[in-house]
Amino acid sequence: MALNANIPPGEMDKKWNDYKGHVKLVNPANKRKLEVIVVGTGLAGASAAAALGELGYKVKAFCFQDSPRRAHSIAAQGGINAAKNYQNDGDSVFRLFYDTVKGGDYRAREGNVHRLAEVSTSIIDQCVAQGVPFAREYGGLLSNRSFGGTQVQRTFYAAGQTGQQLLLGAYSALERQVALGNVTMYARHEMLDVVKIDGKARGIIARDLISGNLEKHFGHAVLLCSGGYGNVFYLSTNAMGSNVTAAWKAHKKGAFFGNPCFTQIHPTCIPVSGDHQSKLTLMSESLRNDGRIWVPKQKGDQRNPKDIPEDERDYYLERRYPAFGNLVPRDVASRAAKERCDEGYGVGTTKMAVYLDYKDAIIRYGKIEAGKTGLKNLDDEAIIKLGKEVVQEKYGNLFEMYEKITGENPYEIPMRIYPAVHYTMGGLWVDYELQTTVPGLYALGEANFSDHGANRLGASALMQGLADGYFVIPYTLGNYLAEEIRTTTISTDHEAFLQTEKEVNARLTKLISIKGTQTVESFHKRLGKIMWDKCGMARNEKGLKEAIHEIQQLKLEFWNNVKIPGEINEFNTELDKAGRVADFIELGELMCIDALNRKESCGGHFREESQTEDGEAKRDDENFSYVAAWENNEEGWTLHKEDLHFEIVKPTQRSYK
């Protein structure tokens, strides 16, 4: 099957405007008759449901949590990028576009990324109008910071809780539409399959997680805004409930999966403390703006970090990448930490951690403060005290969080950090209109693959989620629905609905009737270990082949020996989890297959076979400048390639040295 991304013709910076100027429209009277299903209520889902409700469509929104406000977008800390150039520092739509394509290691689609950069400015306007309390300067105007190593200050933020504030903004817009009757909200509902009629997505089967009953819902179109699949690694910074099920069901119903192996491992997370660990906590990347990362020069150094003198510390990022130092992109920073720990220089009880030290920053800020107030002859202690105050103001909530989790005071002892799975660039393959390979089935936000290539830049996920929901889908969906105005509501007693419901029911019955001996959690942990060890920060052919075999074995064992207590028709969190883990197992296999296929290193995907002499990632544009879109079929998977053409941003090898 030839993949057509449907990029509008014309010059890059005119494509989106031209598209909007020519796209088909649906008249208001018809919008009232068209039903749209939105699965997931994070930034992408809530904003899409709200925006479509405002337009007059009949929207049904689904989330598995008890309220749409819980979606995991809420946990994003750092900020949201927008090419506003409020700081007069040379930012522009073009620069944001350029940075995103380059940061994605030239595996993103230029057309989509340019549109993202274009609409980024409207997002900030919209959010401010909704009452999102972004940080401001004393003059009352919005404040910006530099984030993730960009050279301009384009990141808008609300302390360390930007995701929360943006989500609550979208949530309030959504609840307004619920109050107006344009959106019907189904909380504690999980989508368990897509219903296709005549090749088009026409609805979903959802399970009411309280009663356990299956429900059939019709929609003229179905939007999947169900987030990423980082939890395939068991331990990640994702929420416990984050899962791939909605996207996976769509995949099995014909939607291609794009670049599944592209995973972002975030360099600054709190390390694993033991076997009991259920999830990992991210410490905002902004910490790298001021903190210095190091390990002892001596292997297995047991000393208290405070007792290790300056010349016995290895500030390895500053040593390896003098130009960017501690601010190298996420993938580079993560791999460098892994390299040091694998070599035996790691710290902490598990030896799988490096130090993130604020000592120098505290002294530096202390001196600046002392200079400001004109205080002279301050002793070191007084300077440190002033410096701590500044650091507290900038990073206080992060330091507190660290202390709560580890019980250590990061103002005194350097923090221990280690990379953790954080975001998945891969996802359902979509074209320019965000439509998957199944007509009428769309994917938005992290659930699609489109904008971040092989590596996502900081503060870009929030931007993409809201761009897709507020400003892209309202146009592109209309283009599809304009042709659907003659399709009247299809009864959920239609054969296709009944058949799909039967399949879902059979699967649930199968799961609950296995009555084996191993818990769902134990399978998930085992899957996570395989994925982390063999399809994590560094991958090689041998490991990936082993992983594929091990995952296949795990799948067999799961379906023969999983133990799920309780019944189907009741509130049963173990059954919910079992369905998700079963899908993760299948996804894990595909991720390894994709990683095996992509013999180059690019972005978050590091193939050990493809590296330069000094151990840096080596991209292979000649052979791998394409999106790997996987089709699911009887035999397994078939690869389809969407070749990437770079008209504007010419690929170069990334160098941060």
């Binding site: 995991h72 919005l142 809780q161 416990m240 709560k404 509130f571 173990e574």
Partner: protein, 255 residues
């Protein structure tokens, strides 16, 4: 930090569903590490129960980093347990010692009916937001974000109020089961910002009316909510709600 392990007795509220009555049941867990989070300790207990062929304890949780607001346990007589400004998921076992007995109950409020075990239904909060916890601005209508300068102090105060995670600890803690802190936080956020101006009166009147319909109790200013709020939302927001309500009530022309 010294790490240690502990054996504990847990008394946990078990309730099959909304309709049936519940009761406290005792469980023992052993070798719990002080480094675990409270919910990880519950994971251990649940794994144990499943292996024993018993039904695991249902509890709400999601992000496990203190921001989604889903976790909701009343631990040893306090919402979210003994630590200040903390959610259940961020509570760690070093707060307890070997041999302790820990009582865990769901939020108790008429407006938060128990769904199962420790899981409650907080959709009443969503309905309060639906009554007016928003600014009516359709997508695409917005002026430039810097067109309206906002006093930094007001912006900061609005942010502090907006930090509410909607967990319901305020209601669970309040001896009157009042939701004034939750409602006050949202009303304050939007009253402090110029964007919230046009709907100021109807917002506060409608949200308070909905709060009463849901069956939340009244505020008697014990300030327990503020003390137990994981995000430290100030009761100054309740005062602002009161003042907004009085002003709106006096000036509105509707009945």
């Amino acid at each position: 930090m010294e790490h240690y392990t502990m054996n504990l007795t847990l008394k946990v509220w078990r309730q099959k569903n909304k309709k049936t009555a519940g009761k406290l049941e005792s469980y023992k867990v052993e070798n719990i590490s002080s480094e675990m989070s409270f919910l990880e300790m519950f994971d251990v207990l649940n794994e144990q129960l499943i292996i024993e062929g018993k039904e695991p304890i249902a509890f709400d949780h999601d992000c496990r980093e203190g921001i989604c607001g889903m976790c909701s346990m009343y631990i040893n007589g306090q919402a979210h347990g003994p630590w200040q400004q903390n959610t259940t998921c961020q509570l760690h076992m070093r707060a307890f010692k070997d041999g302790d007995t820990i009582v865990v109950e769901p939020w108790r409020s008429a407006a938060f009916p128990v769904v199962k075990d420790l899981v409650v239904d907080r959709s009443s909060f969503d309905r309060i937001i639906q009554a007016g916890g928003y600014i009516s601005v359709n997508t695409g209508n917005a002026v430039d974000a810097n067109a309206i300068p906002i006093d930094k102090k007001n912006a900061d105060d609005a942010f502090m109020a907006a930090a509410c995670i909607g967990c319901g600890a305020c209601v669970a803690t309040c001896k009157n089961g009042s939701a004034m802190l939750f409602v006050g936080a949202k009303v304050s956020q939007l009253a402090l910002l110029p964007q919230g101006g046009p709907e100021r009166e109807s917002r506060v009147l409608n949200m308070v009316a909905q709060m009463d319909v849901e069956g939340f109790g009244n505020c008697t200013n014990t300030y327990a909510c503020e003390a137990e709020c994981p995000k430290g939302i100030s009761v100054a927001n309740i005062a602002r709600l009161n003042s907004e309500y009085l002003k709106a009530g006096l000036s509105t022309e509707e009945n």
